[in-house]
């Protein structure tokens, strides 16, 4: 087979897989969208103050404004749809899109497939949806769920909170012991024990759902980004050294757009979807 035919065959197979994904989301009343590619740098920074500007891919256009090339898909979706929404409406969208960041080696492009729900979010339904979604893949997708804001409440006012967060991120109990007083360390220790039962009303739903769906609870799981205020989810699959799926609840992010609405989103590696989605 020629190289061109080989390439065309891959593109056709990928298109069939995208059709499978479309069928999955269309059956659940999701709308396909193409998130905006550009936004003004000043608007993006205002909505995402913790993002380092040097990691953004910026363009100066002839209208005199600086623009940023889609650094984050969720921001683009919130920016496009939140101003149109009333508080009792719910938006369910899915997308296939790339985000762009500067890295030490130049432009880094992240090809993703994902979905977002803004408005009414039912966590039980979302875990059920993820469980159904995972069945579309040829390899098992191991879902890990955490609730970062619970462990964060022990350290949020600590002067070394960023260093402590990094230690939690790497699950380094040795470093945590050095950084925390004995009482706080002892209080946080059960979060690293998957058999410990932590009493917190926010977790009771997850404990109940664990009996119904196949996922692992990891209460020391820390997100890459700080905006996950409810549950945080990562998915691992054999053959992939990093998570192939991540997302969670980010209600507080809508406040930056002057709305108080629930929000939930999941993003998957498009590369993984093309390779592992059942034909």
């Amino acid at each position: 087979m020629s190289m061109l035919n080989e390439k065309l065959k891959i593109l056709n197979t990928n298109q069939q897989k995208i059709d499978t994904i479309r069928a999955f989301f269309n059956a659940q009343s999701f709308t396909y969208i193409e998130p905006e590619l550009l936004t003004r740098t000043s608007d993006f920074i205002k909505k995402n103050p913790s993002v380092s500007e040097e990691k953004l891919v910026q363009l100066s256009l002839r209208d005199g404004y600086n623009y940023v090339l889609r650094p984050d898909i969720t921001t683009m979706i919130l920016q496009s749809f939140l101003p149109l929404m009333s508080n009792n409406e719910t938006l369910q969208v899915y997308y296939r899109a790339s985000s762009y960041r500067q890295s030490s080696k130049g432009l880094k492009k992240y090809d993703q497939l994902g979905y977002e729900i803004i408005g009414h979010v039912d966590i039980s339904e979302e875990i059920k949806r993820l469980s159904q979604l995972s069945k579309l893949f040829s390899k098992p997708l191991r879902l890990i769920i955490g609730y970062p804001s619970i462990i964060n409440q022990y350290i949020s006012s600590h002067p070394l909170s960023n260093t402590i967060k990094q230690a939690i991120k790497t699950k380094s109990l040795t470093t945590l012991k050095q950084l925390l007083d004995e009482r706080t360390y002892d209080e946080m220790l059960p979060f690293f024990d998957d058999k410990a039962l932590i009493k917190d009303d926010r977790l009771s739903l997850l404990y109940a759902l664990k009996n119904m769906f196949d996922f692992e609870l990891d209460l020391s799981l820390m997100p890459q980004y700080d905006y996950y205020t409810g549950i945080y989810i990562v998915g691992y699959m054999e053959g992939y050294p990093q998570p192939v799926l991540f997302g969670g609840a980010y209600d507080q992010r809508t406040q930056r757009f002057d709305k108080e609405m629930q929000a939930f989103g999941i993003s998957m590696s498009l590369d993984m979807v093309f390779k592992e989605l059942k034909s």
């Binding site: 191991r142 890990i144 790497t170 699950k171 380094s172 040795t174 692992e216 699959m237 050294p241 990093q242």
Partner: protein, 204 residues
């Protein structure tokens, strides 16, 4: 099958002693020039790599578990999990120089180090302005030829520092060998990872 990355050098030798003690590697095994060794009975593959490459092997999933100094973990901030302190390869990260009063005498300190991030964080924590000179080796030479005022480096006994007339000005942190794990392996191979962790834990 699980793959363990062992650093070459002093920490590697101590790691193998420990792995022999907990019978994760056969007692007759001797590290020479081999790059890979398989313990078929325990279903473990060992790969022997440069200390600076252990983190790459773990983060990229080429190995599931590895042993590395805590200095490398602090310096690289890689996406890995740190499972336990193995209490081997114990040493400390220090600031050393010819003049122990240099912090009071100069507003901006010139620092030679292999550990830019650790040095930067330390001097930020004590509100001292610095110019960092990144060197890959013979860091002790820098103050001797007046390239810098101090160095930030690891020392076990302090002998090399003393031999070069350098004095310890402050200790930044205690360094030791840590058991680290690839994040996916932590969940996908949890039974094997925990077995290894627990066996090592009983002998520390």
């Amino acid at each position: 099958m699980i793959t363990i990355a062992i650093p070459t050098g002093r920490l590697g030798k101590q790691s193998i002693q420990l792995l022999k003690k907990v019978q994760l590697i056969e007692s007759h095994f001797e590290i020479q020039r081999q790059l890979r060794y398989e313990n078929k009975e325990q279903r473990i593959i060992y790969v022997f790599v440069k200390p600076s490459d252990v983190m790459t092997y773990i983060e990229s999933g080429l190995a599931d578990i590895g042993i590395i100094g805590s200095d490398t973990i602090e310096e690289t901030s890689a996406n890995i999990y740190e499972l336990m302190d193995l209490n081997i390869g114990v040493c400390k990260m220090v600031v050393a120089g010819l003049n122990t009063n240099i912090f009071n005498e100069k507003e901006t300190i010139k620092v030679a180090t292999k550990y830019d991030k650790i040095a930067t964080q330390y001097f930020q924590s004590i509100n001292k302005e610095v110019n960092i000179f990144h060197l890959n080796g013979s860091v002790e030479l820098a103050p001797l030829i007046a390239l810098t005022d101090v160095i930030v480096d690891i020392t076990e006994t302090g002998t090399t520092l003393k031999e070069n007339g350098l004095n310890i000005i402050d200790t930044i942190s205690q360094i030791s060998g840590r058991l680290i794990c690839n994040q996916a392996s932590y969940y996908l191979k949890s039974t094997q990872v925990n077995t290894i962790k627990n066996r090592l834990g009983k002998h520390i």
